[in-house]
Structure formats: C-alpha cells, structure tokens
Amino acid sequence: MAIRGTGEGTDYNVKRAALLLTAFFIVSFFSLPTAFAQVHVRMRVILASNTGQDIDPSLRDVHKELGSLFSFTSYRLVRDEGLNLSLNQPARIIGRTGKAFLEATLVGQHKNVAELRLRVVREGTEILNTQVRLFSGRTVIVGGPRHGEGVVIYALYGNF
C-alpha cells in the first residue's frame, strides 16, 4: 500500500519553493555587501596660517607632509575625530566657530576603497561638492576656506 501526494499540486509547490529560495539567495547575496558597509575615517581639522611658527605637537607626524605640500608656517589642530561612516549616512564635522562644516557621506565601498561624497558648507552656502575615492592608508585633503588670517584644512585618512 502506497501513500501518494496530490500529483501536480505537489510539483507546483516544490517548484514555487525552489523559485522563492533562489530569489532569496540572490537578493541576500547582492544586499550583503551594502548592508554591512561601514568604514572608519580619521578626520583632522587643521588651521594653517603664516602667523607665527607654532606647530601643534599632535601634528608632528604629518608636519613633514604638510610642509611638502603647503607653505604655511603655523599649523594648529582644531579637531581630531574618528568617523564610522555608514552607507548613505552623512556625518558632519563642524568647525570651531560653527559657521562652516564638512559633510562626508559614504556612497560606496570596494574592498580597500571607500567612495565618499564631501560637501563643504559655510554660512549656509555650499562652497564645495566633490566625490573622492579614499584608499585605506591614504589621505585626501580638502583645504582653502579662509578662517581669520589662515585657512582651514580637512584631512581625511582612510583606516579600514
């Protein structure tokens, strides 16, 4: 004596389950890399000027690099923060006066490269809009906005 299923109905259910499983695997496979994308970026806000000769002690490690790139005589660290950037979640670094800020948004990530959208806004006006690829272990500098007698330099260091 044999117990039989309902023929075509069983086949249909099996096919449907297989299709749903396939769709689930495909969707989860493609959503995984973006769902957990998060990068750590070290952000330093430096005030550079030609007034005085003082170099902030915490900038000794990059003083040589800054010296080879710019001709300022004074570098003062305003802020030093570690940002954990999540996909499409903007993070802001506001300057000392509160009038200007840099907004960084992670828009993509590929292994050791993070794609960042950067916006510099001062007094409500967007003065810079750019998108850069930040490699792990490398630096991208955004500078130039004037502040008093000097300029503001935003240094982003990829660490992921």
Binding site: A18, K64, R146
Partner: protein, 171 residues
Amino acid sequence: MKDSCSAVSRLLEKYFDQEVTDNERLLVEGHLPDCPDCRNELRSMEELRTLMKFPVEEATRKEDFPWVWQKIEREVRRAQEKVTWWQSLRSRLDVSPLFKRKVWIPAAATFVVLLFITAQIILKKTPSYLEASVVEYVESQTDNVMVYQSEKPDVTVIWLFEGPEREQTTT
C-alpha cells in the same frame, strides 16, 4: 398459455430482484393472478429470502471486526519485518520518486543560478582603482578649485581658491 407461463417463469427471478423492465413487470403482474404455479414459485423465493435474512444478520452482529483488523495489522507488521536492512536502506536512498516528480527541474535551475553567481564572483576582475582618478568629480559655484595629486607623500589635495570678495568679507 403454457408458452406465456414458460416466458414469465424465466422472468420471475428478475422480477423478484426488481431487475425487470416496465414491460416485463406488466407482463409478470398480468400473468400471476391466473397462474398458481408461478405464484407458488414467487412465494418460495420470498420464503427463502426470509429464511436467509435472519441468520446472516445474526452472524454479522456476532462477528468481531476489531479482532479482524488486529489480525490484518499483525500480518502487515510481519511482512515489514521480513525486509532486510539492505532493502530498507535502498528504499530510503531511492531518488527515483524525485525524478518522477520533476523536482530536478527547479533544483537544477537553482544550481545553475548559484553556479553562475559564484563564477561571476571568482572570475570578476577587481577594477583597478589605482589607475583611476581619486577625485571623481569636483564642483564649486563660489570658488575656483584645484586638484593636486602628490606622489610623495601619497596625498590628494582639493584646494579652494576663494575670490577677492570672499577674502575681503572674511578678513
């Protein structure tokens, strides 16, 4: 008349079992009042049925049917015990029902899709970002912008050159 009696007597059993057609029934019922032989035969059939009815009903009442099912189950169990472990294993590992049900079609499709995705990942060439530009785009509606790539140190600089108006207001 004799012919008619002979024809009716052949139909009598069917008439008794209510299996005759309307015409046959009319024929039999038209004949019975005039034929005592046929009436007697019909009465004999009725008596025989009455005689058989009571003993059969009594026997059915007395019959222990649960006991019959127990006996059947015992026999089925004994038949299953006769199956060797090898036969049992073979029946468990038998995949032929799956082929009959055509489950292999969606299974094969799933396998092919997964294989395709895996192959894409393995064979996919990682884009060489080292060769590509670090700055994808840059725009400023207020100032001039310079992009500078330094090799030593490996730094990319995006520098804003503010216009004279901005400088005057800032200073």
